[in-house]
């Protein structure tokens, strides 16, 4: 292992290099660009042996990755925001084709209005595309996730594409000290891709075919089972990872002081670090606050959420996302988890950080303050003026 001072993008690129992808096809977009630049450098200096394809669009980036995956090659791409939306047609295509492609998405606001800064509306708008969705908190987790994502996507019982999300700028451009594993360790962790879901000269196949009403549901059900199997595959990958690299992760969610917490804030991505600080501060004041970080949105950690919050008096979901005309999508999903578990806990939704708007520690504290009245509300952070941001 070597310590390096890396940004989130660079850390992810190092992780990708360790995974030895055979084909990389990507199109630059802020704030993802550094990942593809870094990988280009790795290919140039010979430290990464991969076909690097300079595609002319994001649609082609993923279409090309699917072509590579369809012949059994390990494929990687990366995008963000408008780019993710431009390749949207290919997302369910890759998932339905069960191509275990890994893609990094730098979470960024979507136009209009134009904005290059971070929120999570881009990836969350694609939750139903059939991709695994994970959200990293820091650069170390980004690197580790890059490596683990291939293991999980390519797992025999999964065979599903993986979208690893990094908050734009806040994570992609922030430098931290990162442990970079050796190639030997990485090779021990990640076997080469083995799949029958491919065209080959030895065993010719017809792929990506049509399936009519008689069989379509069965194909879709099997796709669903594949992504549900991610839960076990993540556990397996993390056990293996800890054994080889000595760092441990906690599956689809990460609980912080939730065991005895009265009030729990559920969130995802890089904001979790600040929430953790606020929880510590409140704990010092004797207030029982907790944090539940969602590391994965697909598959959705229904059981983990119910288990973590079952003794809480009230919970809130803080997310950088809004499903216009309703509420934050993560909140909708969390409520479904509570309902299925028979939990009737007051649950509120705080929508913040849109277009890169800063979420302050004070705002997080005030969320915990508001939770004490134990009722449900949907609020926008950062509206200002006379409008409190309450949804009417």
């Amino acid at each position: 292992m070597a310590k390096k001072f890396l940004s989130g993008n660079e850390a992810f690129a190092y992780g990708v290099r360790l995974a030895r992808p055979q084909v990389i096809s990507a199109y630059p977009i802020t704030p993802q660009t550094i990942v593809v630049e870094k990988l280009s450098e790795f290919v140039e200096d010979g430290s990464l042996k991969a076909e690097f394809i300079h595609v002319e669009s994001e649609h082609s980036a993923l279409s090309c990755a699917m072509g590579a995956s369809s012949v059994g090659a390990r494929a990687f791409t990366a995008t963000s925001s408008q780019g993710l939306l431009y390749m949207a047609e290919c997302l369910p295509y890759a998932a339905g084709g069960r191509f275990p492609i890994v893609m990094m998405n730098a979470n960024r606001s979507t136009a209009l209005p134009w904005n290059i800064y971070g929120d999570q509306r881009d990836s969350i708008s694609q939750l139903d595309s059939g991709w695994i969705q994970a959200y990293a908190e820091n650069a170390q987790e980004a690197l580790d996730l890059a490596l683990m994502s291939f293991y999980i996507a390519e797992h025999k019982k999964v065979s599903t594409p993986f979208m690893a999300n990094l908050d734009g700028f806040v994570l992609t451009h922030t430098y931290e000290v990162v442990d970079v594993p050796t190639q030997e360790q990485a090779d021990e962790f990640l076997p080469s891709l083995q799949t029958d879901n491919k065209m080959s000269l030895e065993s010719p196949k017809n792929l990506a075919f049509s399936a009519g009403p008689d069989t379509n549901t069965i194909f879709k059900y099997k796709e669903h089972i594949g992504i549900l199997n991610v839960s076990d595959a993540v556990a397996e990958a993390e056990r293996r990872f800890e054994k080889i690299f000595g760092r441990s992760y906690t599956g689809l969610t990460e609980s912080y002081k939730t065991e005895d917490a009265d009030y729990i804030l559920i969130t995802l991505g890089s904001i979790s670090g600040l929430v953790r600080e606020v929880v510590d501060k409140l704990r010092e004041q004797g207030r029982k606050a907790g944090l539940l970080r969602l590391r994965y949105l697909r598959p959705f950690p229904n059981k983990e959420i119910a288990e973590a919050v079952k003794r809480a008096k009230a919970i809130a979901v803080l997310e950088k996302d809004i499903s216009f005309g309703n509420e934050g999508t993560v909140y909708t999903n969390v409520n479904s988890a509570l309902q299925k578990a028979g939990l009737s806990i007051p649950a509120s939704n705080y929508i913040g950080g849109l277009g890169g708007k800063n979420i302050s520690g004070e705002e997080i504290e005030s969320i915990f303050d508001e939770l004490t009245d134990e009722r449900s509300r949907v609020e926008f952070l950062g509206i200002g003026g006379e409008d409190s941001g309450s949804q009417r």
């Binding site: 069960r98 029958d196 017809n206 990506a208 099997k222 594949g226």
Partner: protein
Amino acid sequence: MKPYLREKIPAGFEDIPDTTSYEAGFLVTKNAGWRNVRPVVDTDKCVGCLNCYLYCPDGVIFKKDGKVAVDYDFCKGCGVCKKICKIGAIEMEAEK
């Protein structure tokens, strides 16, 4: 490999693959029912020039004993072969 008719049609849950990937050239239905006329080769006239074989959109005309024959399981009766045959060795006959 030439696609060919299979005996067992994958239908139930277990038979359906986990992915959209399956053995190449797997046929379960014929096209014979599409036809209301069928090409009939007069082997006495046929000189084996193979033009009909070359131009058949379905590839159902094959070489046989220096001449040609038709796979009626998959012929759709389009009539391209009759038109292309310069010596008039192919006639289209009504299907009964």
